[in-house]
Each structure stands twice: as C-alpha cells, then as structure tokens.
C-alpha cells in the first residue's frame, strides 16, 4: 500500500475510493482511513452543499482537508457525491431542502458499518446539514451532529439570499438597482439573473403583504419559525440525547434566521436541551466558505468538537 503524502496535518491517513451500496454501486465516495492500526468504532460522514459538480472536494479542497484532518485523528471519514453529481450515477435532482439525501446517508452509514464502525458523527452544511438532521434523527448509532451554517427555514434551496435581500432593502432601493443599465443587460442576457430578480420581487411582495395585513402587526410572524424539517429532527436528536453543534458566521443570513426562530418555538427546545446543543458564531460570513480563513476556522471547530465527542 502506498501511503499518501498530503497536508502535513494528515500524513497519518490514506484516501480510498469506494462505490456503494452493493450491488448497484450507485454512489461514489472517498474513505479517508487512519494509518494507525487501532480499530476505531466511530465513523464520520461529511455532507457538503451542492455547489460545484462534485461534493467530495469543496472550495479550496475544504472537504478533502477536513476528511484528512479527522482521519489523522484516528477516525475513518467518508465524503461522497450525491446521486447525479460527481462520479455517482443517477439523475441529477433539484436538491431541495425538503428532499434531503437520506438514502445516500443511510448507504454511507452501512458502508462505514461494514468497515467496523458502530457509531457515527455526521457533519453537514447547507443541503448537507438538512440531510444530516433528517437522516440522523432516530438512528441510535448517531452520537453527534455538527451543522455548519444550516438553513433554518424552509424554501427553495438557494433562495435564502434573495429572501434576505428583500428583507434588508426597501422597495425603492430594489427598484433603483433593477433599472441600472448593467442590471438591465444582465436581466436580458441571463436566465439565472431573471430567476433571482423574480424571487426577490416575490419575497418583497410577501413581506409587504404581511405588513399591510390588519391585525398581523402585533402577532408573531410564523414564517420566521424554523422549518418543520429543521426543528423536528433537531428535537428528536436532542431528546434522544445526541449532542448537536451549530456554527454560524455573525453576518450569515442563516444566523439571522436562526435568531428569529429562537424567539419562537425553537427557543423552547434550546432552553430545554441547553446542555446538549451548542450554538457558536465566528465573525463574518461562514456560508459558502468564501475565504481560507473561514475554511480553517470551520475545519478547526469541527476537528476539536469531533475529538471531544468521538
């Protein structure tokens, strides 16, 4: 066996390509295996968002580095392509938050179990964080879940940004932006720009409608509650005694969503399970892992938390 020489922090691991589950071999993944001979019983699953054409690498190889770091800590780590992406097969689906990749996660658990793991820790972001929640809740083998900037509300994946824009900017400001020549050109030339503009306009209309509806002003806004697909599995995990860690950037709109939701019913569970759930923030924006600094912070936070719980 050739021992790989990747980052200095991860020379104690080796990456092995895998197809799973047998016999269809639908999904492709990479298992980072510690080179130490000790048999570890906790396996880690990494669940990325769906940006890019593969979900095994990530921006600046963030998931590669995270997998190798954790494997260097003595734990087998699996990262993989969702159905229809990367080297997995199957049709690409819409990857909506309401339809998380639970079949993939279950197959990943089975693969790790076939390699000797009896317990799992799941780490996810964006679409992967919803998958982590829904797919882990009720599975007695899961002993911890770490969520990096999880989307808290429901809605079409990728619309969080447009909703946020609609909330943060006034109608006049949005209209002024829309008539700028460069934006008119973008709207004319680019289908994605037209879709985004339509979503912003729809979100703004919804927001205005809520404000003008009589009797709504004083009532708690139910649209600010956490999505059932977020809240229910989170509550199930916590009531089963599974520790959950959430990490946001202070400028992430998902953090604003979380704070709004925490004022409502989600807050009751945060109080009730206070010793099991940890919520941390780091300065700036974490979502998208747009700088090497936030990538390092994320990897370090996950690494420390996993070391504590594995």
């Amino acid at each position: 066996m050739t021992t790989s020489t990747h980052d200095a922090a991860s020379i104690n691991s080796i990456d092995e390509p895998v197809f799973f589950p047998e016999p269809d071999n639908t999904y492709f993944g990479i298992l980072s295996v510690p080179t130490s001979s000790e048999q570890e019983t906790t396996g880690i699953v990494l669940l990325s968002g769906t940006f890019g054409g593969t979900t095994t690498i990530g921006r600046n190889r963030m998931w590669v580095k995270m997998a190798r770091r954790l494997a260097g800590q003595g734990l087998p780590v699996l990262r993989f392509d969702y159905a229809g992406l990367g080297d997995s097969v199957g049709e690409m689906v819409c990857y909506e938050l309401e339809t998380p990749a639970v079949p993939e996660l279950n197959a990943a658990f089975d693969l790790l179990a076939s390699r000797g793991a009896t317990e799992f820790i799941v780490v996810g972001t964006c679409y992967g964080s919803r998958t982590a929640l829904v797919g882990s809740a009720g599975d007695p083998r899961v002993k911890g879940v770490f969520l990096l900037v999880p989307p808290v509300r429901s809605g079409k994946k990728g619309t969080g940004g447009t909703d946020h824009l609609a909330e943060q900017h006034g109608s006049a400001s949005l209209a002024m932006n829309a008539v700028k020549p460069r934006n008119i050109k973008k709207l004319a030339m680019n289908k994605q720009s037209r879709t985004s503009a339509r979503r912003i306009a729809e979100a703004k209309m919804r927001s205005i409608a809520k404000r003008v509806k009589p009797g709504q002003a004083q009532a708690k806004d139910p649209s600010k509650d956490a999505a059932p697909d977020f809240h229910r599995p989170l509550r199930k995990l916590l009531s089963d005694g599974v520790p959950v860690h959430l990490l946001f950037g202070t400028d992430d709109f998902f953090w604003s969503q979380f704070q709004d939701a925490a004022d409502g019913r989600l807050g009751e569970d945060l109080d009730r399970f206070g010793d099991l759930i940890e919520v941390d923030t780091v300065p700036g924006t974490l979502r998208g892992f747009l700088s090497m600094r936030v990538q390092d912070v994320s990897i370090n936070c996950v690494s420390e938390w996993v070391a504590k719980h594995a």
Partner: protein, 286 residues
C-alpha cells in the same frame, strides 16, 4: 478481483462500461478515473481539467463527456493534478510543468491499461495547455478545447477582477490588481475567492499564449462557452496549418463564481458531452 485499497471499480448495468477510480503514479499520487467501453476499444481520450474553482465548475461536464465517449467505444482517462481535487499532495505542487508531467503520466496509464494506439485530448480552460503540449507528442492526436484560456495574463486578470468584485461586497477596500500581484509575490500565496493561489503557479503560467503552441499535426475543435468565438486562435493556428474549427458554443460560464447544481446545467452538460464525443469519434474514424 482488484485488491488495491486505493482503487474501486463499477460496471454500468446498462451499457457494460467499466469505471475504475483509483490513485496512481508516484507519491504524491494522483486521483483518476478510467472509463473503459464494454467491447472493443477504438481509441482513448485524456481529459485535462482546469484547476482551482474551474475544476469544480467543469467536473460534471467532464464526467458526462467521459461516459458518452465510453459508450461509443472510446476509453477515457480523467485525473486531478497533484495538490488539486482529490489527489494527494499540496497546492504548492501545482504548476504548469507539473500539469504537463501529470498529463503525460495519465496518458501512459491509459495506453498501458487499454492497449490503445490512437489517443485524443480534451483540454478545459487552463487544461488546454497540457492538452496541446501532450498532443504534440502524439502526432495526429485530435484535440477538443473547451473554452480554452488563450492568454494566461488575461486569465489572471479575470480571476483577480472576480476577486475584486467579490471584495466590493465586504467592508475592506478592495486591492488593485497590481497590489494583489505584489502581495502574491511577497507572501508566496494569496486567497483568491477562497482558493489558495500560489506564486509558484502564477510564475509558471505568466506570459503564456496558447496561440504560440500550434499543434500542426492535429485536428482541433474549439468549443466556446458564450457567444464570442476568439478568432485570434482560429486565425493564427489556421495560418500555421492547423486543421482547426469551432462548434456552436454553450452558455457562458462564470468560471470563478459559485453556481448550484441544477437540471439546466445537467442538460447543458449532456449537449456538450454529445457534441464532443461525436466530433472525436468522427475524427478518429477519419
């Protein structure tokens, strides 16, 4: 049965093609995938990816092209350069000469594994440079270039511009392009839209023009991404005697900016894969 722990194989239940994903070469090893047709292998294609953000952007297009080619009896080798993608090594190992050397190793591997005597190359963006360099070692090798980088200085300028635009959204005052280059040379690497970009890579690509490398023995298809076909490449290479043509392009790609995986992208990938596979297949058949 393959017992190498650094290799995994799948056989497609529909068309019988084999996909063998593995780590290969000297340490640090490269991650790669060979797509082998079910029946006779008519020829082989090596896909030279781009790097950094562009590797992720074109990943699905390359997988689709590889599968389309394999279903037409053409074996395909895909791979990630050392220090990039899923390969071993660190980003410091990624330079243009290293990309050419890696492509050479990948080509040898494809020939060893399949026994082919006809090879073609697909170069994606910066991958056009190693694709064209290697094709010149295999006279007559067909080449397909997807949205090739023609001028590395312009590539760098575009990447830095995307970086500056992204920085405009933040609180810090964005640097001027020359200041960023100075910082790259001083510090050895910079954070470019969240990707580590090293001075070693920059030094290895600066001042390179694809037009300076006419593959005179090859047939070349240039696939533009976007409506603009760069006529410089076509004119200069044609004048040098290269059999170069262009196809109808696919949609423009914002190579350094994020985009979610969507059905629309998948459909575009299928069209591009079919177009590429058909041209290579026809060119090989003469």
């Amino acid at each position: 049965m393959n017992n190498d722990p650094r290799s995994a194989t799948r056989i497609d239940s529909q068309n019988g093609t084999t996909e063998e994903l593995s780590y290969f070469g000297d340490a640090p090893q490269m991650f790669g995938s060979i797509h082998i047709p079910a029946g006779d292998v008519r020829a082989g294609v090596v896909i030279c990816s781009s790097t950094h953000a562009e590797l992720l952007k074109s990943y699905q297009l390359e997988v689709r092209a590889a599968r389309a080619l394999a279903s037409r009896g053409i074996a395909v080798q895909r791979f990630h350069y050392r220090g990039d993608g899923n390969s071993d090594g660190t980003i410091a190992e990624l330079t243009l000469p290293a990309m050419v050397e890696a492509t050479s190793e990948a080509t040898e591997r494809l020939i060893d594994r399949t026994g082919i005597d006809t090879v073609a190359f697909i170069g994606v963006r910066m991958g056009a440079f190693p694709a064209v360099t290697l094709a010149q070692r295999f006279p007559g090798a067909p080449i397909v270039l997807w949205d090739p980088v023609l001028d590395t200085d312009r590539f760098m300028r575009d990447a830095l511009r995307s970086h500056a635009i992204a920085a405009l959204k933040g609180e810090a005052k964005p640097e001027k392009t020359n200041q960023t280059i100075e910082r790259l040379e001083r510090d050895g690497s910079i954070d470019l839209l969240g990707y580590e970009f090293t001075s070693g890579f920059y030094d290895s690509i600066r001042g390179r023009k694809l037009t300076d490398q006419p593959p005179v023995d090859s047939s070349v298809l240039v696939v533009p991404f976007g409506s603009t076909v760069n006529t410089d490449l076509l004119d200069i290479w044609s004048a040098e005697g290269v059999d170069v043509s262009t196809s109808e392009g696919t949609e423009r790609e914002a190579w350094w900016l994020d985009e979610q995986a969507t059905k629309d992208r998948q459909n575009r990938g299928t069209v591009l894969a079919d177009l590429t596979a058909t041209w290579i297949s026809d060119t090989i058949d003469g």
